[in-house]
Amino acid sequence: MNAAKTCQPVGAMYAALGIHRCLPHSHGSQGCCSYHRSALTRHYKEPVMAATSSFTEGTSVFGGMANLTQAIQTIFTAYEPDIIAVHTTCLSETIGDDIPSIVAKAIEKGFVPEGKLVIHTNTPSYIGSHVTGFSNMVASMVKYLSQANPKSADTFNVIPGWVEPSDMREIKRILKAMNVPFILFPDTSDVLDTALDGERQFYPDGGTTVEELRRTGGSRATFALGHFASEAAAKGLNEKCSVPAHLLDLPIGLRATDRFISALHEVCGVAVPAEIEKERGRLVDLMSDMQQYFDRKRVALVGDPDQIVALAEFCADLDMRPVYIVSGTPGKVFETRVLERLEERVPEVKIANGAGADMFLLHQWIKQEPVDLIIGNTYCKYISRDEDIPLIRHGFPILDRVGHSQFPTVGYMGAIRLLEKMLDAFLSRKDRDDAEEKLELVL
């Protein structure tokens, strides 16, 4: 009930949009594709293009070979992408369609023009969640495209995980500031946050190019941000092309960003520039200035595991108490990670993960003992309204506010934004609730 997760293909679709001139393709009935496109569109308020195999009852009996080969032909003729990224759905998975052999058939029939590519990933929704789908598609990019040679490249791979286009943009800014030559993949900035100038570009400027994806195999190391979304691809790269993998948390909050910057500093052998140090300093300054308003505030975190691990740590570093932690995406490491990051600072924490870890449960917990703040996706607004608790929207999907596409929450600057949002929530609440004579001008 009231799930805190959704299905794999939507994640695969999002990841695929982070490849330059890629058309994601949903192999299954057209409903899934329509739902996934709608979900992403509502979140990003941008066109989200993807095609579908439009299965019918006949297809579900005879398999999707004819549909997919025809789809490939139509897509390359009518929509002219450089690459098609196929993901499966529950239906094609249950039928057991073998995508590589269907693609081989399409190539044999001459439906794939010279120099164009079709890659695929399996995304059965009855396993994992949307985060798993994202991870699978990124791993497939490696499987299909990464090449071990030439080894000479001095680049570093960064897999940003399922974060917003604004976050990817910020990660690139940090890498540039640090003088790290990099390949970021996938990269949805300039794809799902494009300008409006009266000319539509069906394939926007952004996205990691196929050429760059090939070169990931020659990079010196890979930084995988977020265990759930990025580890699989980094491991794959290591196995396939012997690129050493460094697994890090999403750089959300002070210490996760510290670890990211330190890793860049150590692994890439670059100095940390004053610009970044000052950003860190400004964050710490703010944390100390406003510490009294965060101290002992009870917070509920619900959403995707990589985000929550980092958010939990940041909240604890602000002396808040992340007491309820819910993620529908199943995975044993989740609880271990969260506990590790909390460092026994919140002994009363309740953690729910996987089956039954949903918003209904969270609501029950909150009813038993309320919190001061909820951080989660838009669906939390029903709990927030019922219980009169402020909500900060974070994660997927955000259907009713903007900002996530424009302003990052990663890095020190992102942490400053998160901090400002939390502070706003607490202080607005205080201003609203304080008795007339207690209303403070200066806070």
Partner: protein
């Protein structure tokens, strides 16, 4: 822009030239230039509709499940809609359609804010999910004690052979409430439309006719195919009440199962969205003798016309007088709004590609302020919605639609009301139209372009070549359209505005369209140094 700039035949050729030959032929059948010069009013060309979307096309369409659960059943607040399948299908349908509902008080049941799914895992895909389904029904019952639970099948369910109907029957017995299943797997049919049909069938089989308490009122109607997006049904409810017309049930908006159960006791069925609900109207008439006719409450003039038709049907002078009073009263505000917005909108052009009825009805709203529709089409309608019900006998049922059950309905021995049919016969004699829908095309101008199941490629072409002043579609199209600097009005969700039905709705709609077309932002798309 004006119609002269749209050379429909040319445009069609250009659109098709991007496709492989076989596909071009298929799409060609689904694009027609409306009424060539010299054709008479009711002579429209045949259009290909309700055929499968070719794989690889970027389509607006969704699936059967979406039509069944999302559209028809979703808006009823006291039925628990439990989706049997993996989590996604249910997650995406969770509150995304904006059907509003207003329980009479705090204590009344309302499950519409909840999302129920059996969250199938790989084990269930392999070994079957019937046990998990039964357990989920039991749990939902234990927590909420609803009057009824509907169970919706998603794609994998049909494939692994779970029998949702058997489980529903069993649970009905165990719990003593109405539990009924829908075989609305997403791959059935070619679009949401199949799901509408399946939803109609099951409602008719499992819900309608169970009630016995005759609603009070002299003029009892059901409103069908009105889903209370943005509060449309609230506006209509209020309007009916002022006219003294009793609304027994709305299928489905602000509705309850009890209203459905006794809907067969109404005197007349009013059909708004013909596509999604005509089956129930037909079946109720077959079994209980209640006549139906088509109404349109989108557009102020259209609303007045429909209200008058209802009053004429009942033939009661008091009712007629009240209807005239309401119209006169409402028209004051409407006239003022028209006067305000018409100067900003007259001569502007629109295109509408959406749904199974709105692409037609909203043309009235545009026409009432002097706007022209250049091109339109449905997402999931059938030929009768384009060309009128008169083509029904000539529609060939293809393999994709054949296996959607057609219920055979027999006249009910004791509940059939012959006097209803006598009234219908009398009125028909006088030229009154029943059981009819003229369709979109006869009401569209000559040389407009009608496109069924429009693709993203075709949409882009229309926008590039014709540049209408406003484009109406859904969420997936919205932001792509706007990148061209053309405002896009969502006619599924109303862009979170509305209501747009009835007299009040017309006033809201014109205000919104005026605001959108004349928004300042469109003047600033180019940086000043680029001008």
């Amino acid at each position: 822009m004006s119609t002269e700039t749209l050379n429909a035949a040319d445009l069609k050729e250009q659109m098709l030239s991007a496709y492989p030959p076989k596909l071009a032929k298929k799409r060609g059948n689904q694009m027609v230039v409306n009424r060539k010069e010299g054709a008479s009013e009711d002579e429209v060309p045949a259009i290909g509709a309700n055929t499968r979307t070719s794989p690889g096309i970027i389509t607006q369409r969704g699936c059967c499940y979406a039509g069944c659960k999302g559209v028809v059943l979703g808006p009823t607040r006291d039925i628990i809609n439990l989706v049997h399948g993996p989590v996604g299908c249910s997650f995406y349908a969770w509150l995304t359609r904006r059907n509003q509902t207003r329980p009479p008080d705090e204590e009344s049941e309302n499950f519409m804010n909840y999302m129920f799914s059996t969250d199938m895992q790989d084990d269930e895909i392999i070994f079957g999910g019937e046990k998990k389904l039964a357990q989920a029904i039991r749990e939902a019952y234990e927590i909420f004690h609803p009057k009824a639970i509907g169970v919706f099948s998603t794609c994998p369910v049909g494939l692994i052979g779970d029998d949702v109907h058997a489980v529903s029957r069993k649970m009905s017995e165990e719990l003593g409430i109405n539990v009924f299943g829908f075989s609305c797997e997403g791959y059935k049919g070619v679009s949401q439309s199949a799901g509408h049909h399946i939803a109609n069938n099951q409602l008719f089989k499992h819900v309608i006719g169970r009630g016995t308490e005759v609603p009070e009122g002299d003029f009892k109607v059901n409103l069908m195919g009105e889903y209370n997006i943005g509060g449309d049904a609230f506006v209509l409810e209020e309007m009916f009440e002022r006219c003294g017309i009793t609304l027994c049930a709305t299928f489905s908006g602000n509705s309850t199962i009890e209203q459905f159960e006794r809907s067969h006791l109404a005197d007349l069925n009013l059909v708004m969205c013909h596509r999604s609900i005509n089956y129930i109207a037909e079946m109720i008439e077959e079994k209980y003798g209640t006549p139906w006719f088509k109404v349109n409450f989108i557009g102020a003039d259209s609303t007045a016309k429909s209200l008058r038709k209802i009053a004429d049907y009942f033939g009661d002078e008091g009712l007629k007088a009240r209807v005239e009073e309401v119209i006169a009263e409402e028209m004051k505000e409407v006239a003022a709004a028209r006067e305000l917005h018409k100067p900003h909108l007259e001569g502007k052009t629109a295109m509408l590609f959406v749904g199974g009825s709105r692409a037609h009805h909203y043309q009235d709203l545009f026409a009432e302020v002097g706007m022209k529709t250049l091109s339109a089409g449905y997402e999931f309608a059938h030929r009768d919605d384009y060309e009128g019900r008169k083509v029904l006998p000539s529609i060939k049922v293809d393999a994709d639609s054949r296996n959607i059950e057609e219920l055979t309905v027999k006249r009910s021995e004791d509940e059939f009301r012959p006097e209803q049919q006598v009234r219908k016969a009398e009125l028909t004699e006088q030229g009154f139209e029943f059981s009819d829908y003229v369709g979109m095309m006869p009401e569209m101008d000559k040389d407009t372009l009608v496109i069924d199941d429009i693709s993203e490629h075709e949409t882009e072409m229309l926008l590039r070549k014709v540049k209408p002043d406003i484009f109406c579609a859904g969420i997936k199209e919205k932001y792509g359209v706007q990148k061209f600097g053309i405002p896009c009005k969502q006619l599924h969700s109303y862009d979170y505005g509305g209501p747009y039905a009835g007299f009040k709705g017309a006033v809201n709609f014109w205000a919104d369209i005026d605001r959108m077309i004349n928004a300042s932002v469109w003047k600033h798309l180019k940086a000043p140094w680029k001008n």
